[in-house]
Amino acid sequence: MLWLYLHFPHLLLDHIRRSSEKASALVIVEDSGQKVIQACPAARDLGVGAGMRLKTAVSLVPELGIIRADQQQEARILEDQARWLYRYAAHIVLVPPNGLLAEIGSLQRLYGGLPAVWQTLEEVLQERRLTAWPGIGHTPLAARLIARSGKGTCTSDKGHTLQVLGQMPLLAAEFDERTCTRLQRLGLNTLAEVFRLPPADMARRLSPETLAYIQKIQGSRPDPQAPWQPPHYFRQQADFVQDIEQSQGLLFPLQRILSELERDLCWRQQDTDCLLLVLGHRHAEPTRLRIRTSGPEHRAEAFLSLIRLRFEQQPLQAPVILLRLTVKRFLGREAPSGQDLLGESQDLNEAWHTLLSRLQARLGENALKQLAPQADHRPERAWSASEVRRTQHVLTTAASHLPQRPLWLLQGPQPLTEIPQVWFTGPERISGGWWDGQRVHRDYYIAQLNNGQLAWVFRDVREGWFVHGWFG
């Protein structure tokens, strides 16, 4: 067996940079926002390095772009890489947070030798604008250590591999901190010196685990690796450091993702007729756009023109900070689309979903909403019509705590044209919402109008009288 290890030294940074058109200094900071974990080359040139306090980094580069480390996001991005690598190699292992391992012994024949494999790989990486350090070794650990030290070369020679490993300094050999300190204290500097220690002494004086680790590197102890299985859907995401305000700005990253999709569909030998495009905003609920093609499709160009059309009709609600494209529905290329319309759905609420889908298809995405209460004192904000959810939410507020409100709330307040006959309760004063620009300041009353209707009326700060709803 021969192993290839790909080490992505700044995967998250690459991911972000390839969705942005201009290059600026970027860093990733740890979750608490105190320390820099990764710095892009531009930032490194300006003196920012990993481990530096953010304070120092910002004083070095005031206009630094800052991304918060996010484990889930990193895991997702790593999986993205596994997906394309899977097209070349069948046995892939994910090594979070930033490594991929692939068995390539069997590929050599397919590609006509190791150099051809190596070259293909370099081309793909370049095309994808990814930085990865490859390493080849006869054991997974050997490949990993070589890759991570940046000393990978295109050779399958075991002797050479062991020689490179031997010269490796202790700190690069990825011992646990305690073992590393111990070895250092013994005055050892390189992995070769550790290899030289008698195995029995190593197990007794250091630990059996240390010996096992050394043997796994050398290959005298098995190191089985469970292969990764690709998911049954396509999903790609682009994250932006700076908000994108014009839909035009989304086309650049979209193009890349769509051609990715096209390749994925080709590889799957399938088509699709439905894309889900989610646009994330900093302060608002994400926008979800469902893009339907008229029939099975796989060409990026076709998708792009549909999306462009959609953008023209529907301008962006708010600046966008992330973009995610998901495809879950795949159609066989030869199968006529009609047959697939009610394709297998494993959902238990099949009838419900079918109804929803049909309604949505008939009336359009945005015509179908779901009502839900919302904690806000302003009546027009106390409920929300949100996108239909597939799962049911349990009501948390007990009815007795809710204030007295009319069942029929008007679309918007309407001027009161007559003086009410009878006043019931009031005033109830509501003032709030200063933070989102929709400030209200009103006194509400329940009053009976001349025609006997029971109305919810208010007087606002400008002294105007309005009807806001009707009681039954």
Partner: protein, 1040 residues
């Protein structure tokens, strides 16, 4: 209908943290404006806001009522948990209220309170009135509410009211109906209340922000955690009249009339314990003073001092301050019996009486200090004496106070921690839902040293938000939140001691530190109520001095005390004049080291000035140069008139001390005593929120009118601003100067004892142990490495030449207990092997590894690597199978494969194990390896001509950007011969930020400058040589 009037009885100030949205004084002022008859401040289980409200209402017709709101943890039988306000009727009721708060606070964690229904039954509350806030219909059934009311009625018969508020929120009708219903059933009157959370409706946004923060939410998602409207404010009387029935409003007045307690009536009673029976405090103080006199002046008290003592005692008894002096005397006397070094300072400390009482060592015969300047009859403010104790032993003194006066009678004053720009921006940002990372980035980017007002502009420049409306809101909120109290912390050492239970004077609560209790008032509150505190502070130098004196006593073979140090020793001053002052108290900073050769102190009083002159006040007022010129006779000493001469004569006509500046305001600008006092307070508060500008005009005009020139006036004003927050009074400088002299004398004459004591008192002072050891070596003190067969825990002096042997404490992470065992079980002949050491001293693997890492086993391990090999793989033999031979196999094992450590490796290993090395300095190795070819050493610089380009390199031991030096960064580089001072101008710093901020080993090309004996390198090009440290050995380890 009669003229409307109303008493607000339910009002939160911002001392109900994250709830109240107005300062107590804002509430008080607003109540006065609106013509309220009375205002009760009723914070949740607290009276912390009372002194401030009282200060604002002292002169006003509005009566201040003291009260507090409580919510019980449990419910009385069949009832719901009650929520109510207690108001103090008279002084007795106030004491009861404080006692109840103390009970509730003391059993809860810091900042919380826990009160149970049985507390209400066991505490006497007969002088308190109770306003019950009945539960909302949604929260309790009528039966539960009624049961709750009946329970309260039993406790507060004829003293219970039902509080009704008009918040105009949904469900208010039902709430009011319930109040009426309960009132009928309980035959208990209803009173109107405002449920006030803010003084004005405009505070609603801030109140919403606080509510969101309290609920860990932001405004978008806080929802019903926010109030429905902004009606909880102090309403104008006509509005109240519209909203409440007249009888309810009248009821509030009836309650207010019953409350007669006034915070100003609180009188502080000093513990009488100290005065022997049958003697008056004055007579006792006089007797103690006379006893002290005999000790201080065995050959008879000088006449001038006698007169001074008589005058001081007269003043003390006139002001009735005897107890204060006796209390401090008692504490100091205790310290003396325990051999704890202490020294008093402050306005009254440097008096003849305090000298005789042993509170200070500053001899009035030696220094011309006039006590009267410090206690002022007119100002009627309490005398202020701070006492510094050895920092390692202050706790003993604190425990003594607790034990002597009991916890019921002694507690620390509080320090109110307030919102500062950083925390306010962070919290408002959080509430407005800004991205926390963005806010942090913004905060990191702000240069806080730019004057306090500029951060706003900086934020605007950073474009936190593009929406100008949001930005405006943000700033308004941040600005309003600034200065809001966040929590109570403990004062550094201010004790309040009382004669009766302290909890009847002011509530006591828990501090974060276990076993510490604080009162709910801070220093300013105590001052405004005229209460006294005793400051028990910690000072590292006193610890070091005591240890040094002990070492000297050992050397001399007889006790040696501070008093035995000869005065005005020439050699000591000579050393200081050279700027050789590392480790010396107060004058060891870089700026002081530079000042010493310029000021050339020759007498004790020069040291008093030295201590005070390197401070923002004199520097910003540009008083340093005139003083130096006059001192060295380069400029005539002149006084505009005799009045000014009397103020400035001792400092050659240049104002240096805070007292002089205030006195000048009176003498030269015509300030009255009262105005001068205001100026003093404003100076103390200026840094946080005070404003000096009102004084500017008055000062400058006053001086111009009296014929002083505008330039001098302007400089005096700048100096006043500079003193703000950093004011340095002569009374403190005098005490400090004494310690400067003593520590300098020891350094000069007993250097080994000096460094040993300093090292044993770490952490303290400016310098790291490494820097101290290097300075010791430069003063010919031989330092020896730690050795398991010789070292103790502390550093010691050994042999005839008093060589400094490092103790085991220098090994990072090595526990005291292990060192003790090691020391106790050490065989006569020393430990012979690692196995023996491990077994006898019962050390675990980690401790053994630390010893090996420190190379502290030279007896049986050739080097670190071998020492370490011996420790590895050691399994404790199971008891059953262990045999005698196993334990006695002391044969050291060696491993041939292990390399010998290089010198560089040893140096770095020393650094990582001990933070210092006794081997050659890393710079010496690098120089030898040829890395620093053109670099001059610190020693060489001393003899190099000024004005020529030079190159230097060294470990960066300090980077400073003092506020007083505009934009200049001072970098200190350390090499094997000493320290090099590098000055980096702002422009240079901007262009070379990276090496300046990140280098551990820095190379500088620059121009040598010289001023007398002070040598600087004006930096041109900076380069980072940190990578060279990695080349010392093959392995890299972190350096500092």
């Amino acid at each position: 209908m009669s003229e409307p009037s109303y008493a607000e009885l339910f009002c939160f100030s911002n001392f109900t943290f994250l709830t109240g949205a107005s300062h107590p004084h804002e509430l008080a002022e607003r109540a006065a404006e609106l013509g309220y008859t009375a205002l009760a401040i009723t914070d949740a289980c607290s009276v912390a806001g009372i002194p401030r409200a009282w200060a604002a209402l002292k002169e006003s017709p509005v009566k201040l009522i003291t009260g507090s709101l409580f919510e019980l943890e449990d419910a009385p039988p069949d009832a719901c948990a009650p929520r109510f306000i207690l108001l103090a009727r008279a002084r007795k009721g106030y004491g009861q209220l404080c006692q109840l708060i103390t009970t509730a606070r003391r059993r809860a964690e810091k900042g919380q309170y826990l009160l149970f229904s049985r507390d209400m039954e066991t505490h006497a509350l007969d002088d308190c009135l109770c306003l019950w806030l009945p539960p909302a219909p949604a929260n309790a059934s009528p039966d539960q509410a009624l049961a709750c009311g009946e329970w309260l009625l039993r406790l507060f018969e004829h003293r219970l009211w039902i509080a009704a508020a008009r918040t105009l929120e949904a469900g208010e009708d039902q709430q009011l109906a319930r109040a009426r219903w309960l009132s009928e059933h309980l035959r208990c009157p209803v009173t109107a209340t405002g449920e006030v959370h803010m003084h004005s409706r405009e505070r609603q946004p801030l109140q919403d922000v606080l509510a969101a923060l309290r609920n860990h939410a932001n405004l978008e998602n806080a929802g019903h955690c926010l109030f429905q409207n902004g009606e909880r404010y102090l309403r104008p009387l006509p509005v109240l009249q519209r909203l409440f029935p007249e009888s309810w409003l009248e009821e509030s007045l009836r309650i207010a009339r019953q409350c007669t307690f006034e915070p100003g009536s609180l009188r502080y009673e000093y513990p009488p314990d100290l005065v022997p029976e049958g003697e008056s405090p004055a007579a006792y103080l006089k007797r103690l003073t006379q006893e002290g006199e005999r000790q201080r002046y065995p050959e008879g008290t000088p006449l001038s001092v006698q007169a001074l003592i008589r005058k001081e005692l007269g003043l003390i008894s006139e002001m009735k301050y005897e107890h204060y002096f006796l209390t401090i005397h008692d504490i100091v006397a205790f310290a003396r019996t325990r051999n704890i070094l202490c020294q008093g300072r402050g306005s009254a400390a440097n008096s003849a009486v305090c000298y005789c009482l042993g509170i200070t060592e500053v001899n009035p015969a030696q220094v011309d200090l006039l006590f009267e300047r410090f206690i002022s009859k007119d100002r009627n403010e309490p005398p202020d004496i701070d006492v510094d104790f050895e920092h390692e032993r202050r706790e003993e003194v604190i425990q003594y106070i607790y034990q002597r006066y009991s916890r019921e009678r002694a507690a620390l004053a509080a320090t109110v921690i307030r919102y500062r720009p950083r925390s306010a921006i962070r919290d408002v940002g959080k509430a407005l839902g800004f991205d926390p990372a963005l806010v942090e980035q913004l905060l990191e980017g702000i240069d806080w040293r730019d004057k306090a007002t500029n951060w706003r502009q900086q934020i605007l420049d950073k474009r936190l938000t593009r929406n100008p409306k949001v930005a405006d809101q943000f700033f308004t909120l941040v600005n309003t939140l600034l200065g809001f109290p966040r929590h109570l912390s403990q004062h550094v050492g201010g004790f309040v001691i009382s004669s009766g239970p302290l909890a009847e004077l002011v509530p006591v609560e828990n501090a974060a530190m276990s076993d510490r209790t604080v009162i709910q008032w801070d220093k300013d509150d105590l001052e405004s109520l005229g209460l006294m505190k005793v400051d028990i502070l910690a000072l590292g130098m006193l610890t070091a001095l005591r240890k040094a004196l002990e070492l000297i006593s050992q050397q001399k073979g007889r006790p040696f005390h501070m008093q035995d140090i000869p005065q005005e020793d020439r050699a000591t001053y000579k050393m200081l004049q050279k700027g050789d002052s590392i480790g010396v108290f107060q004058v060891e900073s870089r700026a002081q080291i530079n000042m010493l050769p310029r000021l050339k102190p020759e007498t004790y009083y020069d040291l008093v000035i030295e201590v005070a002159i390197v401070r923002p006040g004199p520097i910003q007022g540009d008083m340093v140069h005139p003083y130096l010129r006059r001192k060295h006779g380069l400029e005539p000493v002149e006084y505009p008139n005799d009045a000014i001469r009397s103020v400035l004569e001792r400092t050659l006509g240049v104002p240096i001390f805070q007292e002089q500046v205030i006195k000048l305001a009176m003498v030269a600008a015509g300030f009255t005593a009262g105005e001068a006092d205001q100026l003093r307070r404003a100076m103390a508060a200026w840094k946080s929120h005070g404003d000096m500008t009102p004084f500017r005009e008055k000062l400058i005009n006053g001086m111009l009118e009296r014929g002083h020139d505008a330039d001098f006036a302007e400089r005096l004003y700048l100096q006043i601003c500079g003193f703000g927050g950093y004011g340095f009074p002569e009374s403190h400088a005098a005490s400090f100067a004494l310690l400067v002299y003593v520590s300098a004398w020891i350094k000069r004459h007993y250097p080994a004892a000096f460094y040993c004591a300093l090292l044993n008192s770490q952490p303290m002072g400016f310098y790291s142990p490494s820097q101290l050891v290097q300075d010791a070596k430069r003063h010919n003190v031989v330092a020896l490495p730690p050795d398991i067969n010789i070292s103790q825990w502390d550093h010691t002096l050994e042999g005839r030449d008093h060589q400094l042997r490092l103790g085991l404490k220098i090994i990072r992470g090595f526990p005291t207990s292990a060192a003790e065992r090691l020391y106790q079980h050490r065989p006569q002949t020393g430990y012979q092997s690692a196995t023996e050491l491990r077994r006898l001293a019962n050390l675990n693997q980690r401790e053994m590894e630390l010893l090996a890492g420190a190379n502290a086993m030279p007896a049986f391990a050739a080097n670190r690597h071998q020492a370490y090999w011996q420790l590895l793989g050691h399994e404790k033999p199971a008891e059953l199978f262990s045999t005698a031979e196993d334990n006695e196999s002391y044969e050291p094992e060696t491993c041939a494969q292990l390399p010998e450590p290089s010198e560089g490796q040893n140096v770095l290993a020393d650094y990582s194990s001990q933070g210092l090395t006794l081997q050659r300095h890393p710079l010496a190795l690098l120089r030898e390896q040829g890395h620093l070819q053109f670099c001059l050493s610190a020693e060489q610089l001393k003899t190099t001509k000024a004005g020529i380009p030079v190159q230097v390199a060294g470990l960066v031991t300090g980077r400073q950007r003092p506020g007083s030096a505009s934009g200049v960064t001072f970098v200190t580089l350390e090499d094997e011969t000493g320290n090099v001072n590098v000055v980096v101008w702002l422009e240079t710093a901007r262009r070379q930020r990276k090496p300046l901020l990140t280098a551990r080993l820095l190379h500088v090309k620059g121009i040598l400058e010289r001023e007398g004996e002070i040598v600087h390198v004006m930096a041109g090009k900076l380069s980072d040589l940190s990578h060279l440290i990695q080349t010392l050995p093959v392995n890299s380890r972190d350096f500092h």
